[in-house]
Symmetry: C2
Subunit: 119 residues, 2 copies
């Protein structure tokens, strides 16, 4: 599993594949978040239904397709289904790197041009 | 620049580093998006100010830190500044892979546990 790893070894948590950079700043939540960014690892087409439910529910999905990256046919089925979903709800989809797809719910668009600093 | 590339060669656009999977489904926007997901490539600490403005303005920022990945000191300065920003606005930050940081505005949290399908 190549995509999720550690940036800084010292803050890497064993019980999760995430570096929780916000551990120290967590205590500030007075209200329930209005939305989540969820990261999911796609292993086959059948997983997709569970994951698209997040987007239907209004969350942003970052889909890691590394495990099926060699299967062009499966990838095409998946992107066709995802296109159908975002067409249905008015969301958006874009590739990020070789193995990540950003899938957004209604009202959220992915800015397709990568921004570089002016310095 | 390693992180942003093409998933499917055939749909890769030359004028942008993004695969626009939503080209065919674009015409449905009746309303202005309420939020953007923006991807930015960080080259040094001085770039950060421009990028954090997106988060202050309510957009989600995906920051590609590949170009400074070998500079631990610079990375630490940057994550400290980002923590300060999200503490300030009530957002969230999490690492995604070796070289990506997700930075969210108020009301949006990153689900830290990577989801796997049940199949």
């Amino acid at each position: 599993m190549a995509v999720i790893g550690g940036i800084f070894g010292k803050s890497h948590r064993r019980d999760s594949e995430y570096i929780d950079l916000a551990e120290e700043v967590g205590g500030k939540e007075e209200t329930e978040p209005m939305m989540y960014v969820k990261v999911a690892e796609l292993q086959n087409y059948e997983d997709l239904k569970d994951f698209t439910d997040y987007v239907y529910n209004g969350d942003i999905l970052i889909l890691d397709t590394a495990q099926i990256s060699s299967d062009d046919l499966e990838l095409e089925r998946i992107t066709n289904e995802l296109k159908r979903v975002i067409n249905d709800i008015g969301g958006d989809i874009a590739g990020l790197g070789r193995n990540l797809l950003i899938v957004t719910p209604a009202g959220i668009k992915v800015n397709r041009r990568k921004i570089r600093g002016s310095f």
